[in-house]
C-alpha cells in the first residue's frame, strides 16, 4: 500500500471491453465460417485469410505511420472488419481485389473518419459496395458449393438463388438453411448465422431489436407483394429472409455498434428502414442483392435517429402498475 488512490465513483467496473465485444462477434461468426470452409474449401480459406491480414495490416500501418499515434489493432475491430468483408465476397475472387477491398474498408471507410467509433458507415459494407461497383463480374460470379473443394480461382460458378428468384425459380429451404447454395462465402448457411445470433443474444453483445425488425419487415413486405402479384413474387417469406445476404446483414452488419442507433425505439426505426429498402432494392433486376445498400443508406440516417429518437425517460407518461 503506497499512496491511497482517489477517484470518483463508481469504484468497480463490469470488465467489459471493446475487444471482448469484438471477440464475441468473431466467435459468433465461426459456425458460418466453418460452413464456408466446408462448401468453398481452399478459396474461402485464401480469401478470408487475405482479408483479415490485410485489414489488420492496413490499420496498423495507417495508425503507425500516417496518424503517428497509438495502434489499436489488439482490440480486434480490424480483424472483425476483415472477416466480415471476406464473408461478403465470393470465394473465387482474386487476392488483389480482396486487398483493394481491405484498403477501402480500413483506409477510406474507417481511418479517414478518425478510426473506430467515428466512422459513419460500416467499413466492410463500404468495401463490398465499392468492389461490387468496381469489379461487377468478379463480385457476382458465385462458385457452386462443393464439399471440401480444393478449387480457388477455377471454381465452377452459377447464378444465385436471388437472381433465380427474379427469374421465377423456387429455392430449396433446406439448402438455404445448411448453406448448400451459391453465394458470398459467409452468407450461405442460414442455420449457422442464426446459431451465432443466439450466441450474441446470450452474451448480450447485441439486442434483438435490429435483426428482428429487419427480418420481420422484409418478410411482411415480401408477403404483401406476394399477395398482390403472386406470379411475380413467388418466394415464401421464410425462403426470402434465408436467401442472399439478408441474415448476415441483419445480424452482423446492421448491428455494428458504431453505425447503428443507440436507443431501442431508434433501433426499431432503423431496422424497419433497412427491411423496406432491402425489399425495394431486391425487386430491381439490376441488383438482386440489396441488403448492403439498404444498411448503408440507413447508416446515413443513424445520427439523425440518435438526435431525434430519445429513450423512454423515467417518469414520463407511464401508467401505474397494480
Amino acid at each position: 500500500m503506497d499512496k491511497l488512490i482517489i477517484s470518483p465513483a463508481p469504484h468497480i467496473h463490469s470488465g467489459d471491453s471493446i475487444s471482448k465485444n469484438m471477440q464475441a462477434v468473431i466467435i459468433a461468426l465461426m459456425p458460418a465460417y466453418l460452413v464456408a470452409l466446408y462448401y468453398f474449401g481452399l478459396g474461402a480459406l485464401i480469401v478470408s485469410f487475405t482479408a483479415i491480414v490485410s485489414c489488420v495490416l492496413f490499420e496498423y500501418l495507417i495508425q503507425k505511420f500516417i496518424l503517428k499515434g497509438d495502434t489499436t489493432i489488439k482490440d480486434g475491430s480490424a480483424a472483425l472488419t476483415g472477416l466480415l468483408l471476406a464473408f461478403n465476397l465470393p470465394s473465387n475472387i482474386p487476392i488483389y481485389i480482396v486487398i483493394v477491398g481491405s484498403l477501402v474498408a480500413i483506409g477510406i471507410a474507417k481511418m479517414s473518419f478518425g478510426g473506430l467509433g467515428n466512422n459513419p458507415f460500416n467499413p466492410a459494407l463500404v468495401a463490398r459496395v465499392f468492389l461490387l461497383i468496381s469489379f461487377p463480374v468478379a463480385m457476382t460470379s458465385w462458385p457452386v458449393p462443393e464439399a471440401l473443394s480444393m478449387h480457388y480461382l477455377d471454381a465452377v460458378t452459377a447464378p444465385t438463388t436471388l437472381r433465380n428468384m427474379n427469374f421465377g425459380v423456387q429455392p430449396d429451404t433446406l439448402n438455404l438453411l445448411i448453406g448448400n447454395i451459391g453465394g458470398s462465402m459467409g452468407e450461405v448457411s442460414g442455420f449457422a448465422l442464426l446459431l451465432g445470433f443466439a450466441y450474441l443474444l446470450y452474451k448480450k453483445v447485441i439486442s434483438w431489436h435490429i435483426p428482428v425488425s429487419i427480418l420481420a419487415t422484409s418478410a411482411v413486405f415480401i408477403y404483401i407483394l406476394h399477395l398482390a402479384a403472386p406470379e411475380s413474387y413467388i418466394v415464401s417469406p421464410i425462403d426470402y429472409i434465408l436467401s442472399g445476404g439478408l441474415l448476415l446483414g441483419a445480424i452482423y452488419m446492421a448491428t455494428d455498434y458504431v453505425t447503428s442507433p443507440m436507443t431501442k425505439p431508434g433501433m426499431l426505426i432503423y431496422g424497419v428502414g433497412i427491411g423496406l429498402l432491402t425489399v425495394i432494392i431486391r425487386i430491381s433486376p439490376v441488383y438482386p442483392e440489396g441488403v448492403s445498400f439498404a444498411i448503408l443508406i440507413m447508416n446515413a440516417f443513424t445520427p439523425l435517429i440518435n438526435t431525434y429518437v430519445k429513450p423512454k425517460r423515467f417518469g414520463e407518461k407511464v401508467k401505474a402498475k397494480k
Partner: protein, 445 residues
C-alpha cells in the same frame, strides 16, 4: 419478481460480511463528531471547549430547514471545536470530545425489551424524530423529519421502506434486519402513524431470503405492512427506482416522491426512529460494514459517531496489505477516502478496501457508440450524449436532455466497454447546470 422498469445492472454482489453478527466497536479515546453532514446546512455547536457532556446530549443544533441535530456519542470533556478532514474530502467543522467513561443521559432507555405501544400523536413523533437528529442512513443523509412533513396540499399514501441494500459488499442493513426485525417493524408502524398512512411496503432484494422470510412472518402481526421481494438489480435502492419497483408508480422528472403519494425511508432510519421514539435515544451510533475482497475479518460493527474510521478498521483486522483504494460506502456510489483518519458520520454505511489491481481505472478509449450506457441508465437518459455535451460545455443542451434527472448511480461508467468516465463528466455538468438553474430562479424571484 418485481423490479424497476428502466435500465439497471447487476454487479457481482460480494457480500462477504453477510451473516456476521453486529459487533459493538470499542469506545475510542477521542471522537471528532462532524457538525456538517453531506446534505444541508451544518449544525450550530451548542457546547464550548471544556464542557462536560454525556452520551446523547445535544451538542449541535439544527441550523435551517434541511439540517439535523447532532448529539454527543460519548461522555467526556469537549476538547475543541475545530475543522477536521471528513469523508467528503474537505475540512469541515467538528466537535472533538475526550472520552471519559461511558455515562449516558438518564432519559435514555438502555434495556433491550421491545416496546410496541406508541401513544404519541403524529406531531409528537415528528418532533421527537427531529430532536433525535435522525437523517436518512442509506447514504444521502436527508433529514428524516423533513420527509415526514409533506408540503401543504400533498398527502402521503404509502410508506416505502428501503431494505434493498443494492450496493455490492454492504451488509449492515441486512444484518440489522435480522437482529432487530421486531424493532424495525415497530418503527414502521410509528412512521405510518406519523405520516397518517395505512399501507407500508417493505422492499427487500431477493438475495436476502432470510430477511424476507423473517419480515413476512413479522408482517402478519402488524397491520398494513406488506413485504415485497424484489429482483436483485442495481440501483434499486434509489428512491425513484424503489417506488417504481415496490408500488409501480413513477415519480415524474424533477418531482419529489410525495408527488405520487410515496415516502421512502431506509431500514436503518426506521430502526433509529424506533429508538428515538420508544427509547428516547438520539442518533449517535450506527451499524457499518467493514469489508473488501482481501479483508481478513469482514463484519458489521456498531460504531459511535465521530470515531475515527482507522480505529474501527483496526478492530476489524486492519487494512489489508494489497489495498489500493479505500472507499467510504459502497463501491458504486461511495467516496474514495484520502485517509482513514476521518470521523465516522451519520451517512457512513461502510468501509470497503479495494485491491490494488482493481483500484486503478483502465485506459479510456473512444466511444464506440454501443449504446450500453443508454440501456442501463435507470432514468432513461443518454449518458454518452451528456458526457459529450459536458466536455463541450453545452449546458443548455444538457438541461434539455434532463441531466438534472441523473441520480449519479454510476451504472453507465460501470458498464462502458471503453472505460469512459461518463459519470465524472455528467456529475460536473449536473452541478454546473444546477448552478445555472438556481441563478435563473434567483433572478426571477
Amino acid at each position: 419478481m418485481r423490479t424497476f422498469r428502466i435500465g439497471g445492472i447487476h454487479p457481482a454482489e460480494n457480500k462477504f460480511s453477510a451473516g456476521q453478527k453486529i459487533k459493538t466497536a470499542n469506545l475510542p479515546k477521542q471522537v471528532a463528531i462532524p457538525l456538517a453532514h453531506y446534505i444541508g446546512a451544518p449544525a450550530e455547536a451548542v457546547v464550548a471547549k471544556g464542557d462536560i457532556v454525556k452520551v446523547g446530549q445535544l451538542i449541535g443544533k439544527a441550523n435551517g430547514f434541511i439540517s439535523a441535530n447532532v448529539h454527543a456519542s460519548v461522555s467526556g470533556k469537549v476538547n475543541k471545536i475545530d475543522v477536521q478532514l471528513d469523508a467528503s474530502g474537505y475540512k469541515r467543522a467538528a466537535v472533538f470530545i475526550d472520552v471519559d467513561g461511558d455515562e449516558w443521559l438518564e432519559t435514555i432507555d438502555r434495556t433491550q425489551t421491545v416496546v410496541r405501544e406508541c401513544n404519541l400523536t403524529k406531531e409528537e413523533i415528528i418532533k421527537k424524530v427531529a430532536e433525535a437528529g435522525i437523517v436518512g442512513l442509506g447514504g444521502a443523509t436527508f433529514p428524516a423529519h423533513v420527509k415526514l412533513s409533506p408540503p401543504p396540499g400533498k398527502k402521503a399514501e404509502v410508506l416505502v421502506i428501503n431494505a434493498v441494500e443494492c450496493e455490492p459488499y454492504l451488509t449492515c442493513d441486512h444484518q440489522l434486519m435480522l437482529e432487530k426485525g421486531e424493532e424495525i417493524m415497530v418503527g414502521i408502524s410509528i412512521l405510518m402513524k406519523a405520516l397518517d398512512v395505512n399501507r407500508a411496503v417493505v422492499g427487500i432484494e431477493n438475495n436476502k431470503k432470510d430477511a424476507i422470510a423473517l419480515f413476512q412472518k413479522l408482517a402478519k402481526e402488524f397491520k398494513g405492512v406488506e413485504v415485497t421481494a424484489l429482483k436483485v438489480q442495481y440501483p434499486q435502492g434509489g428512491e425513484k427506482q424503489l417506488i417504481d419497483a415496490a408500488i409501480g408508480r413513477q415519480v415524474p422528472s424533477g418531482a419529489l416522491p410525495i408527488e405520487v403519494g410515496a415516502v421512502v425511508q431506509n431500514v436503518g432510519t426506521t430502526f433509529a426512529v424506533y429508538e428515538a421514539v420508544q427509547k428516547n435515544k438520539p442518533l449517535f451510533e450506527r451499524v457499518m460494514t467493514i469489508t473488501g475482497k482481501s479483508a481478513t475479518n469482514p463484519g458489521n460493527y456498531l460504531v459511535r459517531l465521530g470515531t475515527m474510521l482507522s480505529e474501527v478498521v483496526d478492530q476489524a483486522g486492519g487494512v489489508p496489505a494489497d489495498t489500493g483504494k479505500i472507499v467510504g460506502g459502497g463501491p458504486m456510489m461511495g467516496r474514495s477516502l484520502m485517509t482513514l483518519d476521518v470521523p465516522m458520520a451519520k451517512g457512513s454505511a461502510g468501509v470497503l478496501f479495494i485491491q490494488n489491481m482493481e483500484s486503478l481505472r483502465k485506459k479510456m478509449q473512444t466511444c464506440i457508440r454501443c449504446g450500453k450506457c443508454v440501456n442501463v441508465c435507470p432514468m432513461g437518459l443518454e449518458p454518452y450524449l451528456l458526457m459529450n455535451q459536458s466536455e463541450r460545455e453545452m449546458w443548455a443542451d444538457m438541461e434539455s436532455n434532463k441531466v438534472m434527472d441523473c441520480i449519479e448511480c454510476g451504472s453507465c461508467s460501470y458498464t462502458c466497454p471503453s472505460n469512459r468516465a461518463l459519470l465524472d463528466y455528467i456529475r460536473f455538468g449536473k452541478s454546473t447546470v444546477g448552478g445555472i438553474i438556481r441563478s435563473r430562479q434567483a433572478r426571477k424571484s
